[in-house]
């Protein structure tokens, strides 16, 4: 090879010379040259003209800081990745491994699926915007254009303190009223509030907690909250033996979906088959949750196949995209209020969007259900479970029962600490809240990417807005929600009634056969 480097110029056969040869004259001369030819020392070969991020340019097999990225299945219902934008920075992997403790916690080879809890935190950390939610806005636009469809929408607690950021407002700006107005402008037939079912969740979940404590329900303590679908999938993968600890309550989104096509449809006289049930969520895992096969209580209720309780889940970012596409001037919108029947909220529901919120709201109502009295100031501001500490604990006295011990975690790496304690039988708590996303839903995987990666400063501003709203609302306890009371009066009778079990509760199933789990990360 080396010996012919010098006369490479002469022997090289370019396409032009080849064509000239081939057209006649120089055929033989050229051919011999080609056959004898050899590449030069630095051959002009294809490729190698691009770049790779710095961390990969290490010699040999030295370990690089972060390598690669998370796997995303082509049929992941929550997130997608645009390979043209990926710069292999490794941020997604970092989050998945260290914040959510998913990647790196299962043995290889993979069994038959790509392990992902659909939380979308990777999309929040991706600096190039390569990872995003799976866009479902077209489905909604199509349904809105269809005159025969009754398109109903519910909005999660956490979207109202983040949506404004997509339109240049400061993090944590309260835009509940504008959001309702925008949804009406987009043409939704009913604009309703997930806060209604957040309050309902509390009624069911607090009742279940009391029954567990009293031994009326033969299920173990501590009771785990079940509102965060990423956490549920996480538990099904990694801690299947603790599934009985999870509250059987569906998440507020799914309770809402089930009622939308039963209670709401009945009261309003609408054929449930004509309803498209949409939700606006801060969360990508909700897209996955809505697809779970068991989330079709309305189909069972009406004995009609093909009914899904929630048809389409939009993230906060997708809603913003729809508003922009229709050129609605969001910040100039008036504040409007939600429609009735499933639109009322209390402070307890509002703080569902914060880490510790579900727990705090449940504690308030549990106090009321046990003592029959309104909870004291301590319960209305259960400060130990607020804030961004990874694992939080609190204990509160309930007269006649004793001390209620609770714990709160957010981010599944923090959740593992509690789960390990429970598995080892050294858990003193009655009730534990798990949120998949750090900070809770306010910083969910579908929220505006106001800071990339998300910062605690932004989280704190959004949290503060929720607690401020809670403190200023006339009703702060879920059991005071009059529409929820009406629902029990008109349909469900009482919490955990037979029909309530049918519509509002569910079961979870081990996914342990999908992976060979590791209890600690291999380093």
């Amino acid at each position: 090879m080396k010996d012919c480097a010098s006369d490479v110029e002469k022997k090289e056969i370019t396409r032009r010379t080849f064509l000239k040869m081939a057209t006649g004259a120089g055929l033989l001369a050229g051919l011999t040259g080609a056959l004898a030819g050899c590449a030069d020392k630095n051959p002009e070969h294809a490729g190698g003209k691009g770049w790779l991020p710095y961390q990969y340019n290490v010699a040999g097999n030295l370990p690089a800081q972060v390598r690669g990225r998370v796997p995303i299945d082509a049929d992941n219902p929550s997130i997608v990745r645009d390979d043209r934008k990926c710069i292999l920075c490794g941020q997604c992997l970092e989050v998945c491994e260290n914040i959510e403790s998913v990647y790196g916690y299962y043995n290889l080879p993979v069994v038959d699926e790509t392990i992902c809890i659909n939380c979308g935190q990777c999309s929040m950390a991706c600096p190039s915007g390569a990872i995003s939610e799976r866009d479902d806005t077209q489905k909604v636009f199509e349904a809105l254009a269809d005159k025969n469809k009754f398109v109903l929408v519910q909005t999660a607690p956490a979207t109202r303190v983040a949506l404004g950021e997509e339109f240049g407002l400061k993090p944590g700006t309260w835009v509940q009223g504008q959001q309702v107005a925008a949804l009406r402008r987009l043409g939704f037939d009913a604009v309703l509030d997930t806060n209604f079912t957040a309050d309902l969740t509390i009624m069911e979940e607090a009742t279940e907690l009391i029954k567990r404590i009293k031994g009326e329900v033969k299920k173990p303590l501590p009771q785990f909250t079940s509102c965060s679908p990423g956490w549920i999938k996480f538990c099904e993968y990694f801690y299947p033996e603790l599934i009985p600890n999870i509250s059987s309550c569906k998440s507020p989104q799914q309770m809402f979906g089930a009622l939308a096509k039963t209670y709401y449809a009945k009261e309003k006289g609408i054929d449930p088959g004509n309803i498209l049930s949409v939700s606006v969520m801060p969360c990508t895992a909700k897209k996955y949750e809505a697809q779970r096969p068991e989330m079709n209580a309305s189909a069972a209720y009406w004995k009609r196949d093909n009914l899904r309780d929630v048809d389409v889940v939009l993230t906060t970012r997708e809603l913003a995209r729809m508003i922009k596409e229709k050129q609605i001037d969001f910040t100039a919108l008036p504040e409007e209020s939600y429609d009735q029947l499933m639109g009322e909220e209390t402070g307890g529901a509002v703080i569902f969007g914060a880490t510790g919120g579900v727990m705090e709201a449940a504690a308030r109502t549990a106090y009321f259900l046990i003592t029959g009295q309104e909870p004291p100031a301590l319960f209305l501001n259960l400060t130990p479970v607020r804030g961004l500490a990874g694992v939080k604990e609190a204990a509160a006295e309930i007269p006649g029962v004793g001390t209620l011990r609770v714990a709160v975690s957010h981010g599944m790496a923090n959740g593992r600490k509690i789960l390990d304690a429970v598995r080892e039988g050294r858990a003193p708590w009655h009730f534990v809240e798990f949120m998949t996303c750090p900070g809770g839903c306010v910083a969910g995987g579908g929220q505006p990417r106001t800071a990339v990666p998300p910062t605690d400063a932004v989280r704190e501003q959004r949290l503060a807005a929720l607690y401020k709203a809670d403190a200023s609302l006339p009703k702060r306890n879920s059991h005071e929600n009059a529409e929820v009371a009406a629902l029990y009066h008109n349909l469900l009778e009482h919490p955990m009634s037979e029909l309530a079990e049918e519509l509002l509760h569910t079961e979870y199933h081990s996914r342990a056969d999908k992976l060979e789990r590791l209890f600690a990360k291999v380093v």
Binding site: M1, G37, A46, R84, G90, D112
Partner: protein, 267 residues
């Protein structure tokens, strides 16, 4: 040099695919960003020198899924190179089988010769090239691993001297006989390749060509090559026709040069 792909360690993240594209400056096509389940497996293409193919199959009566990285095997005695009379494809002493586009005449013998069906032709280009993985020889020269191997988060790709890789493969097979099938793909196939694979599922279940002769391919190909001059003229005429056609459509500036008398030194 050589690489060892341990199929049991691949999670299908396709970091390697993106790394290859970034380092080699391969432009993705318009619709190549998002993939949906309906798109199915991706195939090698002129702008995709490596791909991850996903295979659903069965192991001990359980549904399983495995990911297989595909790229040029960098045969020890490459059929593609022996089929190429223009010497556009050459085996370098370091291991990579390298394609030099300046030498390529576009005859595509190499494509027919390659027992693994790796090479891809730029059908839509006026000056088509035959492209494939180059084993990042520029990076090798700097003592770095190929782009794909350097980004793999799970260590599914190990890179080093080929002998060491064969040793490493044997090591893994013997230290974990319950997991692996015991076969190293690439030790003998086509006379031996620089990319080696080990797996916990028989290779035929994962889309590998298992009918590749063990005798080095060049021993067959020279017989094909004997016919070269004849076909060569035919192709030349066709290519010239194509060339003139595209040139005309493009509104030429090299016209004078093009129609100038052909000089004797071949320039």
């Amino acid at each position: 040099m050589g690489a060892l792909v341990d199929i049991t360690k691949c999670i299908g993240c396709e970091s390697c695919v993106v790394a290859c594209r970034l380092y080699n400056g391969l432009e993705p096509g318009q619709n190549e960003g998002y993939r949906t389940a309906q798109d199915g497996n991706t195939e090698l293409a002129p702008n995709k020198w490596t791909v991850i193919q996903s295979h659903r199959t069965e192991k001990s009566e359980k549904q399983i899924r495995r990911f297989v990285k595909q790229q040029c095997f960098h045969c020890l005695e490459p059929a593609c190179a022996s089929a190429c009379f223009a010497k556009a494809l050459q085996k370098t002493p370091e291991g990579p089988v390298v394609y030099n586009e300046k030498l390529c005449v576009g005859c595509r013998y190499c494509m027919i010769a390659c027992p693994f069906g790796i090479l891809r032709f730029e059908w839509d280009k006026p000056f088509p090239r035959v492209l494939k993985c180059q084993m990042c020889l520029g990076r090798l020269a700097d003592g770095q691993m190929p782009a794909c191997a350097s980004v793999c988060p799970t260590g599914a790709i190990t890179f080093g001297e080929r002998d060491k890789m064969v040793g490493e493969a044997k090591n893994r097979l013997t230290s974990n006989p319950d997991l692996y099938t015991g076969q190293i793909y690439g030790v003998k196939e086509a006379g031996g390749t620089s990319w080696l694979y080990i797996s916990d599922v028989p290779f035929e279940q994962l889309g590998f060509r298992t009918n590749v002769p063990e005798k080095p391919i060049p021993e067959y190909t020279w017989q094909v090559l004997r016919w070269t001059p004849f076909i060569f003229v035919g192709w030349g005429a066709l290519l010239t026709g194509m060339y003139l056609y595209t040139k005309r459509r493009a509104g030429v500036h090299e016209e004078e040069e093009m129609y100038a008398p052909v000089d004797d030194d071949g320039k």
